[in-house]
Subunit: 236 residues, 2 copies
DNA sequence: AAGTGGTCTAGACCACATT
DNA sequence: ATGTGGTCTAGACCACTTC
């Protein structure tokens, strides 16, 4: 059986959902699992790893596995408004963003097509990590049209929020035009930055943002921890 | 190093994206990978497994690993209109749905709240698998208000499309009110039904559907293969 | 028979926490 | 010292494909 561990994992997911195991409570140790379910260590470990990857538990070396804190994931409204920090506030969470890297370069073919640029156009590319409290939430690679945000580098330090720069400095009214969402696995870098295992699923959101719904100004690709956040789309 | 295999996997993802490896082309065998990258079999296998889980390749026992067919994932517009089969047609794909199971039962607390029901209300719960061509695409558990679709069981066989029943028989105009998307791993059943490994990420979409935007009629939870489909949200 | 991928095992060794 | 989780290894065996 290559799926033995799934039975055990699904059992504990059920148990946690029905609050048989409370937040912070310790799960049986690997040896106990081996006994209780009559399986090898490898199987017990795969079951635990799976619970960990999908965010139900966290393991601490030398101590054990504990039911993870967040039963209620943060919800992030994927509407035409696009302010991350402000959205998170609604969840009662202190959010902040770190600028990990930036560069100014010519637009590639993909970007030229999406942002209606030609060969002479330049873009700023920013690499941003967002957190809710202490926890890493998402990695975002965003590409801004240089013509729209000239001398952007002058306003990147200190970096608080992209939305604040766009609206505060450049008087733009950023508006999300479309978003494509996808489930995937993180690459090695993202897994490290998000402090998750390489097997934890992530939500990818690719968005196109414009000023006042007409002028395309930004193209971004976010990789969001699957265990912490969910995105909500409403129609009205 | 517990991340050795990620380097190899990411290398091949790059190569496939840049069409160094074409669709259907064979990747190096496990032994060749061991040689070329100087790794143990376990590492080579983890790398291959990861490529498989994220949908880049498919492996065939006794033959090897081959670059998967779909470079362009199907896009499914997550708009207020909610016809799956019709959406897929736009992608030029023959879609069909199978009803795997149905039952009639009283609404639980969660459903009563979402669908504005009281204790006396009944619901139909349908388990539907959707395919694009031969490939399984998604599993959907949907919950319909019995009062709105009385004697639904009389129209379930043959089952073609839920949308067709709702609009054709009951003259409803189903409209999506909101959707919540999430990235996760499949449970054992879903993985089997979707013919994916238990490590392949899936996109979960929870939707609330109403008739003419007012009367809630349906609550559904879809689990969509992460490697085949992406959902697109547009604002206009 | 030889090469490929798929599965499983038993054990070693490490790092950390508790007593 | 003992128990916990984390990592790695070498090998066996199977199933399938090709020659």
């Amino acid at each position: 059986m290559e799926t033995e561990h799934l039975v055990i994992a699904d059992y504990f997911i059920q148990a946690i959902e029905q609050a048989v195991y409370q937040e912070g409570e310790r799960l049986p140790s690997e040896s106990e699992l081996r006994e209780q379910f009559g399986v090898k260590r490898s199987v017990a470990r795969r079951a635990v790893a799976r619970l960990c990857d999908s965010g139900w538990i966290t393991t601490i070396q030398g101590k054990g596995s504990f039911v993870a804190a967040r039963s209620t994931p943060l919800t992030y409204a994927l509407s035409s408004k696009t302010a991350f920090t402000e959205e998170m506030m609604k969840n009662g969470v202190i959010a902040h963003a770190e600028l990990l890297h930036w560069e100014k370069r010519t637009a590639n073919q993909h970007e030229r097509r999406l942002l209606h640029l030609d060969h002479a156009d330049w873009v700023y590319q920013l690499e941003i990590r967002r957190r809710a409290g202490r926890l890493p939430l998402s990695m975002t690679t965003t590409c801004l049209v240089e013509r729209i945000v000239p001398d952007l580098e002058l306003h990147l330090d200190p970096f608080v929020s992209l939305y604040r720069i766009l609206s505060g400095i450049y008087r733009l009214q950023p508006q999300r035009l479309s978003s494509v969402v996808r489930a995937s696995l993180p690459n090695a870098d993202d897994a490290a930055q998000l402090e998750i295992s390489a097997q934890s699923p992530i939500l990818q959101v690719e968005s196109l943002v414009s000023h006042r719904g007409i002028v395309p100004i930004e193209y971004s690709r976010s990789r969001i921890r699957g265990d912490l956040q969910e995105s909500c789309v409403s129609f009205s």
